[in-house]
Assembly symmetry: C2
């Protein structure tokens, strides 16, 4: 009994045209197809044409998995951010991604939800894709996360914060300094009473604590804080002002919010309560989101150059990938207090 040709036991129906197939059609070997794609100059114009025709005809799309496996370069960058829906992070990562894309890299993005355990798990998953570099948000990571990263031995940039001991490189600003600066600024403007509204974000809390300490130091006024217990939103800001007023004895003064969104909520709630801004309550946001200048009155805030942050982080990674050493492994981009009409 004749043995039948063994069937492919593994029938997947996905795209199956390979460089070898393209090569056959063009009358060359697989290697030449590979060369035609990566070093067109090293292939004769005539074969190049035939290969391109064959690619067109077959709809060939190179298999980047195989390429990465063979070359040990995935052209993949991995990024972990706390939240996709928080525009502060998404706008930053959009810049970062575009910068990377223009250099031939794709960015694999995941949300950690501000959770270090989730981050750790994601780091492992991401590393399994063998990224050429990785971006993390913040400087606090689980011990295992650090171990994994160190073991992976790829460029890593931590953003939105600064530290003397980055895993590899870091780009951001000092949150405690920012909190203190706002305290000093408000005090300098004559404010003697202040409250804070803070979302549940560790960096926001550090700003708040620094603000409260410094403001107390300067004015002797104990700063009441209302923590939203969740992500920043306009609704959370309204609730928090209510909380400050109704349960924490806040009557008037300045309010430092951990985000512009909260500040916006404060403005709405204040108006609804018949309180004037900045007459009865002054408000300072954080982030200088684009709507801040468009509110009425325009919102005072702290500007972080998010786009620059994205670019600097991307450049740092690209530099290290190229084998270089960045001038500084820690870049403090600083911040800027923007005075508008709410203080």
């Amino acid at each position: 009994m004749p043995r039948m040709a063994k069937e492919r036991s593994h029938e997947s129906s996905k795209s199956r045209v390979t460089m070898a197939a393209v090569g056959r059609m063009a009358g060359v070997s697989q290697v030449t197809v590979s060369r035609a794609l990566s070093h067109p100059g090293k292939v004769s114009p005539d074969t190049l044409r035939r290969i391109r025709d064959a690619i067109e005809a077959t709809g060939f799309v190179p298999n980047a998995l195989a390429g990465a496996l063979a070359s040990k370069r995935s052209n993949l960058i991995t990024a972990l951010i706390p939240s996709l829906t928080n525009i502060v992070y998404s706008s930053f990562v959009a810049t970062f991604s575009e910068h990377m894309r223009s250099h031939g890299y794709q960015v694999l993005l995941s949300e950690t939800g501000f959770d270090a355990q989730a981050e750790e798990a994601l780091i492992a998953t991401h590393l399994s894709r063998r990224p050429d570099a990785m971006l993390l948000t913040g400087i606090h990571h689980s011990a295992q996360a650090r171990r994994l990263l160190l073991g992976a031995d790829i460029p890593v940039v931590e953003v939105w914060d600064v530290t003397d001991s980055p895993i590899d490189m870091c780009v951001g600003f000092n949150h405690a300094e920012a909190g203190r600066a706002v305290a000093e600024y408000l005090h300098g403007l004559g404010h003697r009473c202040a409250g804070t509204i803070t979302a549940s974000d560790a960096r926001a809390v550090r700003r708040q604590v620094a603000f409260a300490d410094r403001f107390f130091q300067l004015s002797g006024c104990r700063v009441e804080d209302s923590n939203t217990g969740g992500p920043a939103s306009i609704g959370a800001g309204r609730k928090a002002l209510t909380d400050l007023i109704e349960t924490r004895g806040f009557s008037s003064g300045a309010i430092f919010c951990s985000s512009d969104l909260l500040a916006h909520g404060v403005m709405i709630e204040a108006r609804a309560r018949g309180l004037s801004v900045p007459g009865d309550v002054s408000v300072v946001g954080f982030g200088d989101q684009d709507f801040a200048r468009d509110l009425d009155p325009p919102l005072s805030t702290v500007r972080i150059d998010r786009l620059r942050l994205g670019d600097v982080a991307a450049d740092a990674l690209l530099c290290r990938i190229a084998g270089g050493t960045p001038e500084k492994s820690v870049v403090d981009l600083g911040f800027e207090i923007i005075r508008r009409a709410t203080i």
Copy 2:
């Protein structure tokens, strides 16, 4: 002269511990390590322990590229959305990603910037990673894009719109219907004069056109439109109301905005001009973003169940990946007009 061992010409310093290495340390072969990871039940408890110890000791992270190449399953889903910073899309994709993650898939995300050419290029790049499925936003794609997708022969879901001829599956709602519904709703409320404010988004424009046609049909009022010529924002909304009033002769009536953000801008600008909402101008947004209910007055809008959209799209893909056939290849999720205090 003795031949020296050939050097690895290809020194990359990245993580190089393999299953084979783990196997050596545990005293088993590479396959057994592979099995220990994917089918722990098929490995004796004792070797399983030794393998796990070895993994722990070496910090082994499996190479998903090699795995995908061998198994023809990448556990990667690719998604293309117009904008990362537009919360309407980012909140949807966050749900989608989380849903996929919980099923063992990672999502590779890119922004098209509402540009079909950019989309086409991104589709090719994404396909090179051999995703197990793909998500696209919208139903209009370049001919080449369709060709690529069809050739890739993977599940595809198109979201945020519906059509009778999806590439594969589609989940969304009918934009023209939504525009008409708002026109009818406003007319039913007694409005006889209306304007529109529209961002430069093809779907938004389709809603606007349908709205204008229907409203004219019902009331005889010619609907003036102000197109923002860019993405939606509060600032754009303020400008557009100004434009409507100062250059298009709009004095009072209802305004249908293509997004809640624009509507919010309209409310701010109206107040700044001493116009009352909804007394002088009534406003309807689109999207029901979470802040809509927190504005003062609360914003009327059209709700799209974005989270459900993300879940349904994910389930559709998962179903097809599992080899099943979804009950319906086109799912119309509809929309809901939410009346709050601005109309």
